[in-house]
């Protein structure tokens, strides 16, 4: 692997093949927990960590894993990793765990993770797989944070509320009031707001990508579902 390959892995995960905005995988947690930035960030980081560890483990074992046991092995590895993360969050970020609740164990069902294990980690070396996990996770995390920010500003008029759940007491001071005396906009806080917000983000990303790469072919959300052909 050359340096440009690593660069390509990064851009793929974060931008070209962004899980939330282009591949459209893992939308259930994406839509459900993004009512605030902090919730989105927490789930995004947990997902990123899962992706990195599962990609690395799968890649290390890739020569041993015959095709017939590959999928069950992935499921075992991913489920173990997620449960470990869940236990650690329960022990060390108790309040956050209370808020994110069921969505932490549900990281297991995020197709993006098994997708990366199958399409990337089982065919590439550990370092590249780790980087791919990081890049994909980062892309997902950025999407969660962006959607969380849009919904929190429109819905509550604040940013970073609840940061104390993640960072301890001093996090309380991080809350930014963007719109003072915001009456609360229900639509943004409820699931429809998540759908509308995500649609706007996807549209925005597509428009941007189309402008930046006017002369190149650009994968558009929902059409190019096959990830990283370039690397295979």
């Amino acid at each position: 692997m050359t340096e440009s390959d690593y660069k390509q892995i990064l851009t793929n995960g974060v931008w070209t093949q962004n899980t939330g905005l282009v591949i459209l995988l893992g939308l259930c947690p994406l839509l459900a927990v993004t009512s605030t930035v902090v919730n989105g960030l927490a789930l995004g980081l947990a997902t990123m960590l899962t992706l990195m560890i599962s990609n690395l483990s799968v890649s290390v074992m890739r020569d041993l894993l015959k095709p017939e046991i590959r999928i069950p092995a992935f499921v075992l590895i991913i489920a173990s990793v997620v449960t470990v993360i869940e236990l650690l969050m329960h022990a060390f970020f108790f309040d956050l765990y209370q808020v994110l609740g069921i969505f932490i164990p549900l990281i297991v069902t995020n197709c993006a993770i098994i997708g990366r294990a199958e399409s990337f980690a089982s065919r590439n070396r550990p370092l590249a797989s780790l980087l791919d996990g990081f890049a994909t996770g980062l892309g997902f995390c950025i999407t969660l944070v962006a959607l969380g920010a849009v919904r929190e500003i429109v819905g509550h008029g604040t940013l970073f509320s609840g940061a104390d759940m993640m960072l301890g007491e001093w996090g309380r001071h991080l809350t930014l009031v963007i719109v003072p005396d915001h009456p609360g906009f229900l639509l943004a806080m409820l699931p429809p707001g998540a759908f509308i917000g995500l649609a706007l983000l996807i549209a925005g990303r597509n428009a941007w990508a189309a402008r930046v790469n006017r002369n190149r072919t650009v994968p558009v959300a929902g059409i190019n579902m096959d990830s990283n052909e370039a690397l295979q």
Partner: protein, 213 residues
């Protein structure tokens, strides 16, 4: 042994090995985090309880001095009762009750009552009411729930134990009557239960305390 059988066995063993490794990892992490999780849970319960009965008002292990009521006429689910005592004298009870008729499922409440039947405080611990409409029952969203503090069964009286829309004493919210109505009803029923069972609740509290000693 033919080759395909060997391949199957090898794959099966490998899968088993991965499962074993995963189990080992989980068992280890579980062992390492178990105590801390229990401790965190206890701390959370104690923090909730101390919002209603201040820590200086009692000197027993409030979150461990627990009684469970199974009375179908009062609540379909068992109700946990925490007993606050000072030097062996009963100070207050905190009951973990459920208002089952919220707009969107159960509203979980903590209701604190002192020995003469006055409400020390009510808190909503979890609910799924509509954000922005029904959620002012949370103290984080509004101080509506503080209205209960100091109320008794006979103050405001039977008619007063309702939302204003129904001629009672308690405010409803714009666009949401069901959530506050459910909370008011549950607190009222808890006070009624407390009045008719006060002796047993406190007697049992004492019995239990003796057992513990």
């Amino acid at each position: 042994m033919n080759t395909s059988l060997r391949a199957i066995l090898k794959s099966g063993l490998l899968l088993g090995l991965i499962a074993l490794l995963g189990t080992l990892l989980l068992a280890t992490v579980n062992k390492l985090t178990h105590d801390r999780i229990i401790e965190q849970e206890e701390r959370r319960v104690l923090r909730q309880l101390n919002e209603i009965v201040v820590a200086s008002a009692y000197n027993n292990d409030l979150h461990k001095d627990v009684l469970e009521i199974n009375d179908a006429a009062f609540s379909r689910q068992p109700v946990t009762v925490y007993r606050a005592r000072m030097d062996g004298h009963d100070v207050a009870l905190i009951m973990r009750v459920i208002a089952a008729d919220g707009y969107n499922g159960n509203i979980h409440l903590l209701v604190g009552i002192d020995t003469d039947g006055t409400l020390l405080g009510v808190r909503v611990t979890s609910h799924r009411e509509t954000p922005g409409l029904g959620d002012p029952i949370e103290l984080r969203k509004s101080d509506w729930v503080l209205d209960f503090t100091g109320k008794r069964l006979d103050r405001p009286g039977t008619d007063g134990w309702a939302v204003k829309k129904n001629g009672g004493d308690f405010d409803q919210f714009t666009g949401a009557t069901i959530s506050p109505r459910a909370v008011v009803k549950a607190v009222h029923q808890t006070l009624q239960y407390f009045e008719s069972h006060q002796q047993t609740l406190f007697a049992e509290a004492t019995d239990r305390a003796l057992e513990n000693d």
